[in-house]
């Protein structure tokens, strides 16, 4: 067992992946610069410029070149510096990567891993602080991975490299320094299998990515009040593990879904409606949702912090729905 930060866990996954000759990585400033978030620092020296390619700032052709080389039988990993910039490449992601297997009826597959950085909280203002995992999760043909811990990041990345489909792998910028245990022995984490980060019988908190840690904070505060929360980290949004969520809700009868993106159109709406369709009679009150405030992210630190869900807001939402 080794302790490492999430950045190191992803780098470990990349190094392992590069043992396969068909794998190469490309993206903006991942080589000589070492990566905007330093994940690939040292990779250029270690693997050389043919396997670690610095690209122009041209997100669409970065992803498209990944799609094309995947069609030709390679296993590219492309890095988009942040998920905000993925919008410039969304044509390649949604119209091409996600569709080519289906439209060719299996003649072609696109084994492409798109790593990107998501989330706010860094005072980078409205164009650099967004979370669009939920958008991509609505697209058949894509898979969406949203790890919250170093252990999960490595285990899910290994699965991503074996999966054979186009995958959006979204790492939260504020989690790169997060510490956690990672086993020395090989393990993988399947997609569509949520993780119960904390067990409890009184209330269920569903979250993903950084919000998992907000959920754990809320659970600690609830414990002080004598209530045990079950914290479920979805880990992947497409596919997502509704069975684990429903099972927990049937036990606790109370649930709040927490995510960082805007509440309107958020993934929490999908989770909430599924709970209401399939476990309506088990609920003691309406499914509670906590999401980002419906405004563009402001620059000012105090204002920005007020837009992002906190443990206090999670407790407030539970109080509103269930009076606890």
């Amino acid at each position: 067992m080794a302790e490492m930060i999430l950045r190191e866990a992803v780098a470990k996954g990349l190094r392992e992946a590069l043992e396969d000759d068909r794998v190469f990585i490309m993206g903006e400033d991942i080589g000589a610069y070492g990566g905007a978030y330093a994940v690939t620092r040292g990779f250029l020296d270690e693997f050389g410029p043919e396997r670690v390619m610095d690209t122009p700032i041209s997100e669409s052709v970065i992803v498209g070149a990944g799609v094309g080389s995947a069609l030709a039988g390679l296993k590219p990993i492309v890095e988009l510096m942040t998920i905000n910039f993925s919008l410039v490449a969304i044509d390649q992601i949604v119209n091409h990567a996600a569709k080519l297997r289906y439209m060719s009826d299996g003649q072609f597959t696109v084994p492409l891993v798109i790593r990107t950085v998501t989330g706010g909280g860094g005072q980078l203002a409205a164009t650099h602080s967004q979370s669009f995992e939920n958008w991509y999760a609505s697209v058949p043909g894509l898979k969406v991975v949203v790890p919250a811990t170093p252990y999960d990041a490595l285990g899910l990345f290994r699965t991503a490299m074996k999966d054979g489909n186009p995958i959006l792998f979204a790492e939260h910028s504020l989690l790169y320094g997060m510490r956690g245990d990672v086993p020395d022995d090989w393990y993988e984490i399947p997609f569509g299998k949520a993780d119960i980060k904390r067990s409890g019988d009184d209330v269920t908190i569903v979250a993903y990515s950084r919000m998992t840690h907000i959920a754990l904070q809320a659970a600690a505060m609830l414990e002080e009040r004598g209530r045990q929360a079950e914290v479920i980290d979805l880990r992947t949004l497409r596919p997502w593990d509704k069975d684990t969520v429903l099972q927990s809700v049937r036990k606790t009868n109370r649930v709040v879904v927490v995510e960082e993106t805007w509440r309107t159109g958020g993934f929490s709406g999908e989770v909430a409606s599924t709970i209401q369709e399939e476990a309506f009679d088990d609920l003691d009150g309406p499914v509670a949702r906590v999401g980002g405030v419906d405004v563009p992210a402001p620059y000012n630190g105090m204002l920005e912090a007020a837009t992002i869900p906190t443990a206090e807001r999670v407790l407030q939402a539970l109080n509103d729905s269930y009076g606890i």
Partner: protein, 322 residues
């Protein structure tokens, strides 16, 4: 017209161009009968580009293009039966009826699609070529696109990357003067000399008559030869004319009826036929034989498509994921 090609090669060019022409005419009829639905973009008038180009390639070279893709697919070797069945949405089609006219694929022939977002195929072409370079193979990628694509960001991103990374992409612009219904003079700075844009990316570019199959073939052959040596990209602008509307839904209200005549457009198939007859390379009997063979193949393709079953409902769920 002149040529160093032998009789078989010339006759084969004629046969392939005619096959595409007759295929497209049959598509038009099936569309009017409601047997082909959705968008249908015919390649009539542009046959020389696909045929002249493919004949200059190796079977393992990649070809990727846009939604006016029937000609590219057939010239790259796709079975006309399978193509026609796809257009009719049948289970026997190249994509089991899930792709349609704009999305033909043939992995065995390295025909990498039919892509329907304007310029969307261009970044993918860079990736195909990147794979060849990565594996140190000398196979090249031909990327077809139209004059409408050159105003998209993906065009510029791809030319730049292909040049900076020295990727073996042959950018093959089919300039038929219209992006849907908008003339290049109204949409593109330097609309009738688009190949000059390649110079901005340090890519050698030429403009040629895309309605002369012999000239097309010679130009692409020379270009491909030099690409296999140095591995870098090239740009060919093939000037052509789309005889029909943008799609079957287009009554072409935006252009004059006699525009083709004013431009001095010469039909690529007629031109080759006249050339072969004039120099007594083939006689009328041989031409009639080719015509009959082509008619029979198209009629078989239509029959096959019409007789084929529609997909079962479960096909809807297949191949979303690997």
């Amino acid at each position: 017209m002149e040529s160093t090609l032998n009789k078989q090669q010339l006759a084969e060019f004629y046969r392939q161009m005619l096959l595409i022409r007759r295929f497209e005419e049959a598509c038009g009829r099936l569309y009017m009968q409601g047997k082909i639905r959705g968008f249908l973009h015919l390649y009539i008038g542009e046959e020389a580009i696909a045929v002249g180009t493919m004949a200059a390639l190796r079977p393992d070279d990649y070809v990727i293009g846009h939604y006016r893709d029937h000609g590219h697919a057939i010239a790259k070797g796709m079975d006309t039966k399978i193509a026609m069945a796809e257009l009719c949405g049948k289970a026997t089609g190249s994509s089991g009826g899930k792709g349609g006219s704009m999305h033909l694929f043939d992995s065995k022939k390295h025909f990498m699609g039919g892509h329907a977002i304007v310029a969307g195929q261009m970044p993918i072409a860079a990736g195909l070529a990147l794979a060849s370079k990565y594996r140190k193979e000398d196979r090249i990628t031909v990327c077809f696109f139209g004059d409408g694509a050159v105003n998209q960001g993906e065009f510029h991103e791809t030319l730049n990357l292909a040049s900076v990374w020295k990727l073996p992409v042959l950018f093959l612009l089919e300039n038929n003067l219209y992006g849907m219904g908008t003339h290049v003079d109204r949409s593109r700075a330097g609309g009738r000399h688009i190949y000059e844009a390649a110079a901005a990316y340090d890519i050698p570019g030429v403009q040629i008559n895309g309605m002369d199959v012999l000239g097309m073939n010679e130009c692409v052959s020379e270009t491909v030869k030099s690409m296999r040596k140095d591995g870098g990209p090239r740009f060919i602008e093939a000037m052509c004319y789309r005889y029909r509307g943008h799609s079957m839904a287009d009554p072409t209200m935006y252009r004059e009826r006699d525009e083709a005549e004013e431009l001095g457009i010469k039909d690529p198939i007629e031109s080759l036929k006249n050339f072969m007859l004039q120099f007594e390379i083939v006689d009328d009997g041989e031409l009639a034989e080719i015509n009959a063979k082509v008619e029979a193949e198209i009629s078989d393709a239509v029959q096959f498509a019409e007789d084929s079953p529609t997909p079962d409902l479960d096909a809807m769920y297949r191949n979303v994921y690997a």
